[in-house]
């Protein structure tokens, strides 16, 4: 890939064409806030916090850096008054939308804000509609179990028709990527529960055939087995709990080292 030259905050860099500006800037040690970006996922540009000011030729404009592909001759600034003002307004709007999200509050305070000038939304909670759960679910499953519903101010995330999803395998990726803790999970005896404010998914946990402990949703194990159907040697390993898997691997290792010792002695 050909290298091209671009300037970020006055420092010229040579990078591969079409890399995302946010990744390049962060590698240069420049801090850019964001709540909807994840390096493993395609950029989305929803939260508008990673905004930067770009100049090319006679044009200067504000744009998000997460979905800005680096091209030759861009002059990117991450610290102009317009950038700061835009970030402040974005976080202020998100704060009023999701007043319970402590991560948003922390970021707002970091930007020097004390409280939002807007009233909290009636249906306020923790969700900032960043779409990370929807995108990660799609990346894992192909056919996502969680999606957006309605539009505009009524936009919401959840399973279709706000009913527990049939496609959810309980992998917990949505819980892991959610930046504000809107989606949570809890182990409840034989069940694994995934919660948003509107929907709750209940998944049965499988028992480990070796130790009898419940360790992962049955559906998740089925999904992994199906996905790895071309690797039958892993089939047994995937059905036992991580602790037993470790023990079995360790035992296998010590077994093989014992055999090797006998071999050497001979």
């Amino acid at each position: 890939m050909a290298l091209i030259k671009t300037t970020i905050d006055g420092r010229e860099v040579q990078v591969e064409r079409d890399r995302w500006a946010i990744d390049v800037a962060r590698e240069m040690g420049i801090d850019i806030p964001t709540l909807c970006h994840h390096p493993a996922l395609e950029p989305y540009g929803a939260c508008r916090l990673c905004v930067v000011e770009v100049t090319k030729g006679k044009w200067t404009w504000l744009t998000t850096s997460c979905d800005l592909p680096i091209r030759e001759g861009l002059n990117i600034r991450t610290d102009t008054p317009a950038v700061i003002a835009a970030r402040k307004m974005a976080i202020e709007l998100l704060w009023a939308q999701a007043p319970d999200a402590v991560e948003v509050q922390a970021l707002a305070k970091q930007l020097g804000m004390e409280k939002p000038r807007f009233a909290a939304r009636a249906e306020a909670g923790k969700c900032i509609l960043c779409g990370l759960c929807v995108r990660v679910c799609k990346a894992v499953l192909g056919q996502p179990a969680v999606g957006f519903s309605r539009r505009g101010v009524e936009r919401d995330i959840g399973a279709p028709f706000d009913k527990p999803s049939d496609t959810c395998i309980g992998c917990g990726a949505c819980v892991a990527v959610c930046p504000t803790g809107h989606i949570t999970s809890v182990e409840d005896g034989p069940l694994w529960r995934l919660n948003t404010s509107k929907t709750e998914a209940e998944l049965e946990l499988a028992k480990c055939p070796e130790c009898g402990r419940r360790f992962a949703p049955v559906k998740q194990i089925e999904f992994i087995r199906k996905t790895l159907s071309d690797k039958p040697e892993r089939a047994v390993l995937d059905q036992i709990c991580p602790a037993c898997r470790k023990a079995r691997t360790a035992a296998g290792l010590s077994e093989s080292s014992r055999e090797r010792r006998i071999c050497l002695e001979k």
């Binding site: 404009w61 307004m89 709007l93 939308q97 539009r151 505009g152 936009r155």
Partner: protein
Amino acid sequence: MIESVEKLHARQDSAREAFYPDKIRIGVGLGTCGLANGGGDVLNSIREEVEKQGLDFVVHGTGCVGFCEMEPLVDVLAPGLPRVFYHHMSPDKARELVASLADGDFRGDLALMRFDHDELLTSVERPLTGKLNGLANVSTLEQTPFYKSQMKIAIRNCGFVDPHNIEEYLATGGYSALAKTLTAMQPEEIIDCIEQSGLRGRGGGGFATGRKWRACRKAEGYPKYVLCNGDEGDPGAFMDRSIMEGNPHAVLEGMVIGAYAIGSNHGYIYVRLEYPLAINNLRVAIRQAEELGLLGENIMGTNFSFKVQISRGAGAFVCGESTALMASIEGFSGEPRAKHIHTSEKGLFGKPTNLNNVETWANVPVIIEKGADWFAGIGNESSKGTKVFSLVGKINNTGLVEVPMGTTLREIIFNIGGGVPGGRKFKAVQTGGPSGGCLPESQLDLPVDFEKLTEAGSMMGSGGMIVMDDRTCVVEVARYFTDFLRKESCGKCTACREGVLRMYEILEKITCGKASPQDVELLEEICVYVRDNSICGLGKSAPNPTLSTLKYFRDEYMAHVTGHKCPAGVCKALTTFEIDPEKCKACGLCAKACPTGAISGGKKKVPAKIDQDKCVKCGLCREVCKFEAVATT
């Protein structure tokens, strides 16, 4: 099948003979406006009467000729006589007209106007040899203010041809441009021609069409897609609908030419579901064009193939935005994405894609036929050709008008549109749909082109033009459109979803008289933020109604905020209706109109009086009063 240029020309000639038959031909406007006004019943009554009397007349439906105010419209064409349009027809009037026509009486008394030459069609000469008789006093095209400064390119043929009959389009020279491009022009030459003509996107962006085509032609990847944007979502705009309904082949021909120039074999026309007639007429047109070999495999016997499909939108305003439209065609929900990577490189299904709007496509065949120089000679410095506007609101001549770029707003509103009805004063005009700006009287001499409208704080948009009189409150207008946009935002980005919501909340507060000057400042701050930080055109232009009214009508905002008054007497919380006993003639009209029975008196010379406890401030009394006796404070 038409397999060669010669065969096309022969077919056009025979079609023209049928188009100008040696007998009387009656057309009935069956666009949505015509049908809504009873055009269907008029057509039936004409058919019945013709059959009953055993007359040898040709009767058919047409599209909308643009003068929607006058629907149902009927046009009559007799050999050697001008084409005559009759307005406000009813089934009875239509029967009467047919009976008179049978006796050779052309009923000048019922006529609206006459077209001495069908010059709106492409190059058709028809000598008038008949005696005018009763038609001599009917105003001609040149004498009709609504039409005389118009120039029809994109909406040519609309209201003249039967959209369900491809022969009629052929009769007007249709598909000649396609034949020319396929047999005598290289793809690059076509792009050069469009580029030289100066054609710019009519969907609102105003991007140079030739440049767009060239970028898509150069882009690597196959297949390439050619799309037509028929998702006309602006309230009060119906230019594209009228073209799709009344002259669908113009769009198809333009698309085939574009596809050949770009190197695409597959196209989609994205039409909103709320346009069932447009969808139907396009379907019929596609089928007929395919049957004649003008669309599909090996077009006109060449080795170029192009298939086109209709994709129906589900009614989201945001799907008029290019990337959202493509997501919708792909089967996903209509959400836009950032366009740092152009759709000409990665568009529909990640392939090079060229999207133009209905009106842009309809311009293409004419440019090819008449040449780039001819087209570039129309309009002004920066904007070439014509633009169709749908003129609605407080205007006498509601309808579709097509004028050369650079025509002033004054010319469009007062000369063509006939000004504001009821002797009221003009207050503002909103151009460019719900996210356009409101321009005041001081801007009326503005020549309408892409740059000038943007500089003035509005935009060309797709061509909606809503006229407002002095009984319109601009704050309420801004609130209304912001409410529309708040609901139509897809909700993807914070700037548009949350920002437009907050704009709406403050505007609502102002119209209720509960806002402070700080709120107005905050409103301006959010507007600028939303404009500069939204992903797509919907959000970027959503602040236009508010910003432009703040620019031109700031006093009116301040009257709401500091004076707690709505000068136009619209905002209910700030308005009290009272009847001036001096001016009241006790006619009783207001009392009759009042839905809550709040008005007493108004008869036997006792002036009417409003009971404030019962009054719901609907303003009906003020609407009906002929003596300006109802005042607002």
